[in-house]
Symmetry: C2
Subunit: 348 residues, 2 copies
């Protein structure tokens, strides 16, 4: 073992200096051998390589980062790590980054835009090579500052016109419009909209899609059919359940919608249960459509009609943009709009 014990019990890692000494060259030469940045004879190269192996030398990434101003770390800022939508996107993003030699610093801002701003700055201070910003950021001033500072940023599930950052997002507006079309074709006329918080961009987009679809089909939006529950204490399952239950058990039948589009599968599943308990049949009395095509939707009664979105694709596309950005390549399509797919099952 050529590594030396240090005071605190940790092993002192060998550095370029050690390698250089052992191979009787300078550190410059070692660096050139490693990075192939200068012509070096076969003999010297072999000597250096042998020394590297003998000393188990590994370059110190911190020193490299300091010198080259590249850390090969990307920040990933998202509202919630456990979310069924965000986490698959993150997973595929991390995987792509990994393949290109990058690591990912994951930061969750827990839906708090105050914290989001703080975390953005912290990431920038950590000298990441780029930041993926998932969904959030109402703070245009912050983004403009980041742009000025030259921080590569990719937006996912979000687009901002004020700054020139590439983005990936699903076509929520169009898709939900199509859902309304579908419901209309099936004969539903009084279509309701069930969502948690309208604060989140994609949910808001879905509302706009709903509006567009309704108008296009000559339907009027009854404000009494728009169910938005901001109660953060519940999960979507009980949110959908309690909300729909309270409405459908107290309202006169003729004042109720004949279909519900829910912005989340869990919301929809909760709603279906509430409908059943209130004595309504799905889809005969009330049609229900969810969103996300989570595994369980194929296992509830009735099987839920829903919308599928390719989260893995979103992660890949986000990485493609990020990679181009940090490599300072130019980007052909800076704003990717990904399609979604209606999965027709039995609930409408």
């Amino acid at each position: 073992m050529k590594t030396k014990k240090k005071a605190n019990g940790k092993l002192k890692k060998s550095t370029m200096v050690d390698v250089a000494k052992r191979a009787s060259v300078t550190i410059g030469t070692v660096s050139h051998v490693i990075n192939k940045t200068a012509p070096i004879t076969k003999e010297t190269t072999d000597r250096v390589l042998k020394a590297i192996k003998a000393l188990n030398y590994k370059p110190n990434s911190i020193a490299q980062a300091l010198r080259t101003r590249k850390s090969y770390v990307i920040g990933f800022l998202l509202p919630d790590v456990t979310n069924e939508f965000y986490s698959p996107v993150m997973s595929s993003f991390i995987d792509c980054a990994y393949k290109d030699g990058y690591s990912v610093l994951v930061v969750s801002y827990q839906y708090s835009s105050r914290r989001e701003v703080i975390e953005m700055d912290r990431l920038a201070d950590k000298n990441v090579d780029g930041i993926l910003l998932f969904n959030g950021c109402d703070d245009i001033a912050l983004l403009e500052r980041m742009e000025k500072e030259g921080m590569p940023i990719v937006l996912a599930d979000r687009r901002v016109d004020e700054v020139d950052f590439p983005s990936v997002e699903f076509n929520n507006v169009e898709t939900v419009g199509k859902v309304v079309d579908m419901l209309y074709k099936k004969g539903y006329r009084k279509i309701g909209f069930l969502s948690e918080s309208a604060r989140l961009r994609n949910l808001n987009d879905r509302y706009n899609g709903y509006k567009e679809g309704m108008t296009r089909n000559g339907l009027e939006i009854d404000p009494a059919f728009v169910y938005i529950s901001e109660d953060m204490e519940m999960n979507n399952l009980v949110r959908g359940y309690t909300y729909i239950k309270s409405i459908f058990e107290t309202t006169d039948k003729k004042d109720l919608p004949d279909a519900i589009f829910a912005t989340t599968d869990l919301l929809a599943i909760g709603a279906v249960r509430a409908l059943k308990e209130a004595g309504f049949r799905v889809p005969q009395d009330v049609g229900v459509v969810g969103f996300d095509n989570i595994a369980i939707t194929d296992f509830v009664e009735p099987k839920l009609t829903t919308v599928e979105q390719d989260k893995e694709l979103m992660g890949r596309e986000a990485w493609t943009l990020m990679k181009a950005l940090v490599d300072e390549k130019n980007i052909d399509v800076p704003h990717k709009i990904l399609p979604q797919k209606i999965i027709k099952r039995k609930s409408c």
Copy 2:
């Protein structure tokens, strides 16, 4: 704006040198002001602080890390980012780390132990201050090497006796034993065991708990009642469904178990559906118990009896251990065993 444009269009960040110049002191003094490592007069301090503000100076974390050998980055290595069990633990771990000024590098090894080893090394090469290892690592040699290199490592959902790393885990063996006790008390005698892959440590522990519970209650384990499906193509929902369906539709009634303990809620939910379709009533004909208490368990028919584990707590405990380790404080209880709780509902 005191920041200067650089060739590539990025703004050149101001450094200590700039601050020092502007405040007419040396960089040493600036450092001392920032870190309060030496007595400095009020006047000088003010001058430095003013310069810092004027130049919008932020310390370069890379340079700090190089000098102090501390990056304030922790690696989090887990099998799968999207997993319903791992991700809440990760979420709470990240949150705790954040509060102590640390960032978390998330790496998923996708259940591949080959990749796990590679990622461990990559993390170590990235100069993280510590690594949280979630669930995996059969490679004792790797762990021993890490120990020798002085890398602080905390194990979650896993314990290894060969090396001296602290750990947090749930008491799977005991809990599943109690589940068997409960089933026995309710009159079930032919208790089956349904699991995906026995490769994962906690699933294996649950099998051991099942075995212990059975023996304790004087019951014999019928190998025909042990259902382990390694098919990685399916999700747990369809895995449980197809497996149980194939068994219960082809086997003679007297050769079937009267209860099934499933190591995952989704597995259990899939199984319940299969049982229903095969003409069995739950819990009258067959009792079912799941594991994890995911939200949907309270929404299926019948409501699922299951086991709850406090994942947030696990994340917190893991961080506590990690923090003590990187701070070189000594740890009173290096191997935390967290309790789990049986949630009694209607499926048995």
